[in-house]
């Protein structure tokens, strides 16, 4: 029984939040990695793209709510997600046409691309704050919990329990679905294969008659779509704050690099590695140990490796360790 109690505690405070946050990071990192694989630069504007997608979704959700549209038990935002994806993809299309296409034609240095992406980041950040303002927006309606801690305790008769938030379930399920679709697309379809070929060897791909513009545009559209998903799911799960997305850039990049840049599977795994280790390192194990150890050995301190305030530092430390020990990442991506 004690073991089950400890397990329930860990599920509630580490596993569920970890897999949810990990899914959000994974979706973000997938976008970063795809852009890197095809266009060969680190897109610093990706966080703001997530923010942009979420903002569009929020605006349409407000509009829909004012007409009385809702999605029953699920958040209304999900209805308007496709529209938000459309707008974000269009925005990415515009960015590619007006900013990056020029440098691609000129075959500029990756660092020039990076600086350009910072220009895009600045512009997008300003646009978002100009439209929706800098304050927090909570747009999660519908039922909050599928089952909460109290119901779980009553059902199982344990002393500890875990609750499953609707947003957590949606996030994890959506991520599994999206990743499966993406991997089938990349591995089985002709267009997906042409994308991978372009990423592996640009010259050879051109020689085989693959249209580079088509591949690049498609990459942007997919990255924009994934960014919208990541942004909306993060906003549903926690709260939408325009400035939080610049801070999320670091864990997202860490996830992409830890998994191996340019490798989609790596990005997903990296996302979960980063999120779970953030929570494992900053969790206070006192209660868990109290269940697992005999009474005489009960710990007196919090049994915490690192204060919760340093959550973001964890992703950075992992990044540095990976960069020193294995710069290609877990799944042998490209070195930047």
């Amino acid at each position: 029984m004690d073991f089950l109690n400890a397990l329930a505690l860990i599920t509630n405070y580490i596993l569920l939040p970890g897999f949810t946050y990990g899914s959000q990071l994974a979706l973000g990192a997938l976008g970063v990695t795809l852009i890197y694989a095809v266009l060969r630069f680190s897109n610093f504007a990706h966080g703001e793209l997530m923010s942009f997608g979420a903002m569009i979704c929020i605006l349409f959700t407000w509009l829909g709510q004012s007409y009385g549209i809702n999605f029953g038990v699920l958040p209304t935002a999900l209805i308007f997600l496709p529209i938000a994806i459309g707008f974000t993809a269009l925005y990415c299309f515009i960015i590619e046409k007006f900013v990056f296409a020029y440098y691609r034609r000129k075959k500029s240095d990756p660092i020039i691309f990076l600086i350009a992406s910072i220009g895009v980041m600045f512009f997008t950040a300003g646009l978002i704050r100009f439209i929706i303002g800098p304050s927090d927006q909570n747009f999660n309606d519908g039922v909050r919990f599928i089952f909460n801690v109290r119901e779980f305790k009553a059902f199982t008769g344990l002393d500890e329990g875990f609750g499953l938030k609707t947003s957590q379930a949606i996030t994890i399920l959506t991520t599994i679905l999206l990743c499966s679709i993406l991997f089938v697309f990349l591995n089985k379809t002709r267009t997906g294969k042409s994308m991978r070929a372009f990423s592996d060897n640009e010259d050879l791909a051109l020689l085989s008659g693959i249209d580079p513009n088509k591949v690049v545009l498609l990459t942007w559209v997919i990255a924009g779509g994934l960014a919208t998903f990541a942004g909306v799911l993060y906003g549903l799960d926690k709260i939408y704050k325009p400035f939080i997305f610049l801070q999320m850039l670091l864990p997202i990049f860490s996830a992409a690099i830890v998994g191996g840049v340019g490798n989609p599977i790596g990005a997903v795994v990296g996302g979960y590695v980063i999120a779970l280790s953030e929570l494992f390192v900053t969790f206070a194990y006192r209660k868990v140990l109290a269940y697992l150890l005999p009474e005489s050995m009960e710990p007196s301190g919090m049994m915490q490796f690192l204060s919760t305030d340093y959550k973001f530092a964890v992703s950075f430390i992992i990044l540095v360790i990976v960069l020193i020990v294995r710069p290609t990442g877990i799944f042998r991506g490209k070195t930047i």
Binding site: V120, F122, T124, G126, D309, L319, L323, I336
Partner: protein, 435 residues
């Protein structure tokens, strides 16, 4: 000759802009902007050394600036004797343990033990150090932070003149840069940018959360000044006499005098750094740096130690950024960790350097001046534009109210556009790097 003409033209245009602000808004505002322009230019000079001379992408500018701010607090704030007696010893022991641990770590690293031993010894050292820090540090920190948390709750500083912190800020930033550079400089450009971005975040997190050192988000107010206070000037007889003789308004003149004295101090720093970096750029050392930047492989073939040179330049540039950070905190008279945002510090400074012309010190000066000027003036300008565009709408139109309240954020859009346009149409900036 063409160069000189171009420079004097651009700089005098900027001078005219400041004078226009002086007449239109007030001389107080104009001088306030100019002081911050000087600080921005210092930061831009620091980043230019890294980005321009050596092509190192440091996305951690914010962190180094914050370290400068921290040193301003530690140097100038008077020591809080109560907290020092409560927990000073514990903190001191912790610092010693950290030092000892690092020395031990380095010794193990340098020793000729086998890899297997090292792999076991490193984690042991880290865990022991962390445990000791927790055992000794945590109670000390708790005692310090519990002492009058609303007014104090931190150790204070050394109570020395704040000007000293400009040098100390540079030194601290340089030391941290040494550690960071050792780890990250072997990486290629993208990784380096991401890693330094992370380090800056971590530094800010530490400053926000270690209340015993910085009071965290409670901020440190009332840092002493290197220049007289307005109120003292207004009460001293010679100043009243002076104002009466020339017919100046007393209150306004006093604050202008204070701003002018800051301006004088900052100008000395900016000019010194500018001249030194110009000399360095024109020296064999500067040529070597540019050779390394332009072709690392052939520079290495010529026997240049690229990694050591990069480390050197990373430390130098970061030290100058730290100095500028200390100057900024001195000017503001308070240390607020929450104001350190990457958009405002790191990336804006990049924009300054790129717009001015990467690798050209004149460019960094004018880039720092212009971008800061635009950054400040974008707010009234954006407001004016929005009001103009939305003027057909009624006063109570929600869209109009929304746009007007958010008009200040136009500055981010403007920065982005400016950067993109310069990068596309004038990638060498206002003053291209000379041959």
């Amino acid at each position: 000759m063409n160069d000189v003409l171009r420079r004097s033209l651009v700089f005098s245009t900027f001078a005219v802009a400041i004078v226009v602000i002086g007449f239109l808004q007030s001389w107080n505002v104009a001088l306030g902007i100019f002081n911050l322009c000087l600080i921005s230019a210092t930061m831009a000079l620091g980043v230019n050394i890294q980005l321009g001379y050596a092509g190192i992408f440091n996305a951690g500018v914010m962190g180094f600036a914050a370290l400068g701010g921290l040193s301003a607090v530690i140097i100038s704030y008077k020591p809080v004797s109560e907290t020092i007696s409560l927990g000073g010893l514990g903190i001191l022991i912790c610092i010693l343990i950290l030092l000892l641990g690092s020395v031990l770590g380095v010794l193990v690293y340098k020793s000729n033990l086998s890899q297997a031993y090292k792999k076991i010894l490193f984690p042991i050292i880290i865990i022991v150090v962390l445990l000791l820090l927790n055992l000794i540090g945590a109670p000390a920190v708790e005692r310090i932070e519990a002492f009058e948390p609303a007014a104090s709750g931190f150790l204070g500083g050394f109570g020395l003149p704040i000007i000293l912190s400009w040098i100390v800020g540079g030194v601290i930033a340089g030391l941290v840069a040494y550690l960071i550079g050792k780890i990250t400089l072997g990486l290629r450009s993208d990784y380096l940018a991401i890693a330094t971005l992370g380090i800056a975040e971590v530094i800010i997190y530490i400053l926000k959360n270690e209340d015993w050192l910085t009071r965290g988000v409670k901020n440190v107010n009332g840092l002493p000044r290197p220049v007289p206070y307005e109120i003292d000037l207004q009460e001293s007889t010679w100043f009243i006499e002076l104002c009466k003789n020339f017919g100046f308004p007393l209150v306004e003149t006093s604050s202008i005098v204070v701003k002018l004295s800051y301006c004088f101090l900052f100008s000395i720093v900016v000019l010194t750094i500018f001249i030194l970096s110009e000399v360095a750029l024109k020296s064999p050392w500067g040529r070597m740096m540019r050779a390394i930047r332009d072709n690392e492989i052939s520079a290495r073939a010529m026997g240049k130690n690229v990694k050591a040179r990069h480390l050197e330049i990373f430390i130098l540039g970061s030290a100058i950024i730290g100095l500028a950070g200390a100057m900024l905190t001195t000017l503001e008279g308070q240390f607020t960790p929450t104001t350190y945002q990457p958009l405002r510090f790191t990336f804006t400074v990049w924009v300054m350097v790129i717009i001015g012309g990467t690798g050209n010190n004149y460019g960094s000066l004018i880039g720092g001046f212009l971008v800061w000027f635009l950054w400040v003036e974008a707010e009234p300008l954006g407001l004016y534009l929005v009001e103009l565009i939305t003027s057909p709408l009624s006063e109570t139109n929600p869209l109009r109210i929304q746009l007007i309240t958010n008009a200040a954020h136009m500055r981010y859009m403007m920065m982005g556009l400016l950067l993109l346009l310069v990068l596309r149409f004038a990638p060498k900036g206002i003053f291209p790097e000379g041959r």
